[in-house]
Symmetry: C2
Subunit: 216 residues, 2 copies
């Protein structure tokens, strides 16, 4: 079997999600890093692999290039069933995916680097305006998410029961992202508890940005 290669960037939360899933599934992989601030993901070499020029891309052992962090997590969960990253029942799976998508659709895309940059170049947004933008969209989702998690009998030590699912991985990646803008977790005790219980797992700890070869 050829090597599995993850193209990513230490600080990218989408790359972080892929690393956590790969580690939990026990996949051996090499990392190729693309420095986003230097624009390395927009070079010809990388675009020939992933025309979107976004990270991560996962080159699977048969050479297939997989993109989009949620699709990568689903793929890994389908081909390596243990430990499962989704519950078994369809309603539980829908709940986990929905919470994951609250983070991966409603927070992250609106706050990722290319959008924050565009706020500056198009509207002259300064550092403070960008920071306010970031924290606004986090609060818009983390507020209801905290309420949904705190009020649901499905919530356990993790987002869904006591087993780590994709939703926990999304949550962890977002909390790390938040730190760059000093977003406090104080208003979100349930989210904070889940984060604290997840981030200490060895598979997650190995995936955190500071522990990557390209960390600055």
């Amino acid at each position: 079997m050829a090597k599995v290669v993850l193209h990513g960037y230490f600080r990218s939360s989408t790359s972080f999600r892929a690393r956590m899933a790969l580690n939990l599934k026990g996949v051996n992989y090499e990392q190729v890093t693309h420095h986003l601030r230097k624009g390395e993901h927009k070079g010809e070499d990388y675009l020939s692999l992933n025309p979107q020029g976004l990270v991560p891309s996962l080159v699977w052992s048969d050479g297939t290039v997989l993109t989009q962090s949620m699709a990568i997590m689903e793929f890994l969960d389908e081909i390596i069933p243990e430990p499962p990253l989704l519950p078994r029942d369809p309603l539980g799976r829908a709940r986990v995916r929905s919470i994951l998508q609250m983070i991966c659709c409603d927070i992250h895309p609106v706050n990722n680097m290319r959008v924050l940059k565009a706020l500056g170049s198009r509207f002259g947004a300064d550092e403070e305006a960008v920071s306010n933008w970031f924290t606004h969209w986090v609060a818009e989702t983390f507020g209801p998410l905290e309420q949904m998690l705190a009020s649901s009998r499905e919530t356990g030590r993790q987002v869904h029961g006591d087993q780590v699912t994709m939703a926990d991985l999304g949550l962890v990646s977002q909390v790390f992202n938040n730190r760059r803008f000093g977003v406090s977790l104080d208003p979100y005790p349930t989210i904070e508890g889940i984060f604290e219980r997840t981030v200490i797992l060895p598979e997650i700890e190995r995936a955190i940005p500071a522990n990557q070869p390209d960390a600055e």
Copy 2:
């Protein structure tokens, strides 16, 4: 079995995705509409159903409230296997999900109404600036998507082979959204062909915004 109720809005592309999937799966459902421009999705009644205050919400026959359009499509595909909205093989499923997520994560969230409004209120963006923002993010993804679809042997009459999948539904919803800002499909002949072949299906036609009870 109690009724299935879809809470949505005729013009919301996420509601549109849910309607297409429900129709393809042959689910009987009632619609409750929430006028987004009038802020009806932020009323107490709706927030008690979906604390995020976003559409769609699908109240399933057992009373469970499902949110997030991609999670809803996955749920329907799991409990009603025919016709499938994903291929069978894990790599094919990853391709379909990845293309769906290019649209649902990289275009739609950055361009949805609450974000466009925030550009106006925070940065004084006028109509032209908002329109340029919208078309920019469409082009950023539709460019590579056209290239990926045109160059892949997996692409058939639809995004993946000849069977309609979730990715086609995402594509159709985005093309309708684009029309509001006059985005031409001329640079995207493969996308346009797939759109034309999908939108004429009766299940899709019944789901289009103009054919909803709350259409203006």
